[in-house]
Symmetry: C2
């Protein structure tokens, strides 16, 4: 078997055999297939796709390219959640403690900000002292004792994805449904979970702009899970405007704490509950979504979800005092407000532009090696469908460097549109795939 | 401008601007664009092609990636010939002296065997002492004084092609018309020629199996020439069966010498004349193809073509005695004959299989680093349309190593088909594109 033969087969629209796919992923991980050969293969896959069977084997081969976790001694059901990435999407930090407080273990391995979308690790690191690097034995211990853990991916897990992900980024092969879905699913399935809930974002601020494409992605990932005997439920959720008020790192973390106190905006609260409900049902601790919602609401009212987050922060060396005093989180040195240029109805509040502006402020990375500034951020006051007066603040911007503020404000000015009539309300949850 | 932006543009079927193409080729040659990025670009081009304008700029950019030759002080018209590669295709070694003897300078930079097809350099090196490595100043001097030179490509000429060619070979991106045509044309145009004749092979033994594909390739290359203000004529010629009798290195060289004495088989003689006629007309030394043929025939009858070859052999350190004594060329130590299994008409004499068998014997390379055995080869006695008796030799095989003979004979046994009726005769020259 040679790499060229397999590339030619896929280039001409052929189907790779199980053996060929396993050989390719193994040989690539072992450096026997060169990056330039895999780049040609990825571009061929971009054009011809992978069949359901090819994709299942591809994801499995990636999953087995390195270590996998073994949580078989943990009796609690293990369910994780993954989002395809959005703006203001701080769901994980509130969801995991709520779900864990209901008795479902959440082995959450998170990522960093990518493009204009934020990353859970960056947000958590806004908590003074919080350590996201957790080695496998500690990860296991925390999951067993606390019922949740929030860390980064370890080096030895799914090494094929680490290389493929970096290669796709520099070869124009990122937006390919089989490549996206196998990347996500191989990492999640390596976590030894019983079930998985996917939040597949759709809209201006998402990688998938169109619902039909997002649905295909969701179905593809559910299919990979099914081949792996892991139950997967995907919700298609709106990402035209940011979720909640906060876009940044420290401010998003604060909003999560607010959520656990029952004080967060309705959209971020609702989506967190909906995803958590699915996890409880999949984990078998709730009979129905309604039952799950009652249990989850109880974790807010009785404070057990907040306690769970406190336990995690303490275990991962963070300062739990932030839970009561948000001023202990990094604060932007200066603020400026973006005012509505006219009165009317907000017809657009563009998540992508707001996300890009957040990156410009320093809240994300323009280059891979950039450090993230946890303090800066955007507070979004006027969302789609809201009525505003002329001069009313649309957003508040917390900034540190003037040049970066300039770039951010230029983008933000185009992020809102104000019209004469109220727009049609759009649903937050657009569909469910299982 | 970044490589990823350009890859994404081509990936999505877009058109690259002149500036983008020039940047890409320059940056790739300068190692600023990585092989894996170019591999993804090549696979995107495989799927979406290049427009006529893109291709013209692409070929020009390749041509200018290194040194170009300057023969402006040579007053003779400069015309070269290029073949897309066939089996038994020894045209160049006879054609160049004939054309040069008519007053057209032929700056022939040749290649080595590729796959199952032979290469002029390998054939020339069968002549004891013959040196195919000719540096630019000697190349210039020989072209000026003798009117022809036959050497390999220099390192500094079209470095972009050298890298792209090697990359295509290992990334499954060889059979792409824009990539094939820009590779050929950039190298030929760098020779500072006034005009070019292309021999585009069609059939079982050619890279292009179908006439329509070959015609597109021919039109594409003629188009690149036209953008470069260089007149190009392409003949589409049959490559279902080998040309002439000899397939190998020493035996093909001997057949070329025979051709210059007027004693070669009709097919190889005819195709050599037809290509040479076009060169004389393009070079302006003949008014018509008929006029050209008369001049070319005179170079055979008066011996000036053979003298020209002798001059070149002497200048390039070869032993000119081979012209009269073919036994000075390397001889295979042993021979075996392949006999017709039945009587009838030869309906197939498969150039590809015979070419592959020649490589197996050691006449070509199984791996890049292999040395070529100049002595071994195949003498093809029965071509398509000929009647044979049972047991009559179809071919004679000159061999050195028994294991290699075994592999070659296994392939050769399937290279002939004998039927009950004479097949329809097929034309040797299938068309002309200009």
């Amino acid at each position: 078997m040679t790499a060229v033969e397999l590339i030619e087969k896929k280039r001409d629209g052929g189907t790779l055999s199980d053996e060929e796919i396993r050989w390719l992923i193994r040989a690539y991980t072992a450096d026997e297939v060169a990056d330039y050969q895999m780049a040609a293969m990825l571009m061929a896959i971009f054009h011809h796709g992978l069949s359901v069977e090819e994709l299942a084997v591809w994801a499995e081969a990636m999953l087995h390219s390195g270590d996998t976790l073994d949580f078989s001694d943990i009796t609690a059901p293990k369910v994780d959640k993954h989002s395809t990435g959005g703006v203001g999407d701080k769901v994980s930090i509130a969801l995991a403690p709520m779900v864990a407080a209901c008795g479902v273990a959440v082995p959450m391995m998170s990522g960093r900000g990518l493009g204009h979308t934020g990353g859970t690790l960056d947000k958590l690191e806004a908590i003074p002292g919080f350590r996201t690097q957790v080695d496998p034995s500690e990860f296991h211990h925390l999951l067993k004792t606390i019922g949740m853990v929030m860390g980064g991916q370890t080096e030895t897990l799914v090494p094929a994805d680490r290389r493929l992900y970096a290669l796709r980024d520099v070869t124009g092969t990122v937006p390919s449904i089989p490549l996206i879905s196998s990347s996500i699913m191989s990492k999640k399935l390596a976590e030894d979970i019983d079930a998985l809930v996917l939040d597949v974002k759709v809209g201006r601020g998402a990688f998938m702009k169109q619902e039909d494409q997002a649905r295909i992605l969701a179905e593809t990932m559910v299919g990979i899970g099914s081949h792996h005997d892991t139950e997967v439920v995907a919700l298609l959720t709106a990402m035209d405007e940011p979720l909640g008020t906060a876009v940044g790192n420290a401010n998003e973390t604060a909003e999560c704490i607010e959520l656990l106190k029952g004080d967060a905006p309705p959209d971020i609260t609702e989506i967190t509950f909906r995803l958590a409900e699915e996890m409880l049902v999949l984990g078998g601790v709730a009979d129905s979504l309604e039952d799950a919602r009652m249990q989850l609401e109880a974790t807010i009212t009785d404070g057990t979800a907040l306690e769970k987050l406190e336990q995690v922060i303490v275990a991962q060396d963070g300062d739990p005092a932030v839970l009561e005093d948000y001023s202990l989180l990094p604060q932007p040195p200066q603020f400026v407000e973006l005012e509505a240029p006219r009165e009317g109805w907000v017809t657009m509040c563009d998540a992508r532009r707001i996300g890009v502006a957040g990156v410009q402020l320093g809240g994300g990375r323009l280059r891979k090696e950039d450090e993230v500034d946890p303090a800066v951020g955007i507070w979004v006051f006027a969302k789609e469908g809201e009525q505003v007066e002329q001069g009313e603040p649309l957003a508040r911007v917390g900034w540190r460097h003037g040049d970066r503020l300039g770039a951010a404000m230029e983008i933000l000015e185009d992020a809102w549109a104000i019209g004469d009539e109220a727009p049609e309300p759009k649903p937050l949850i657009m569909g469910k795939v299982r």
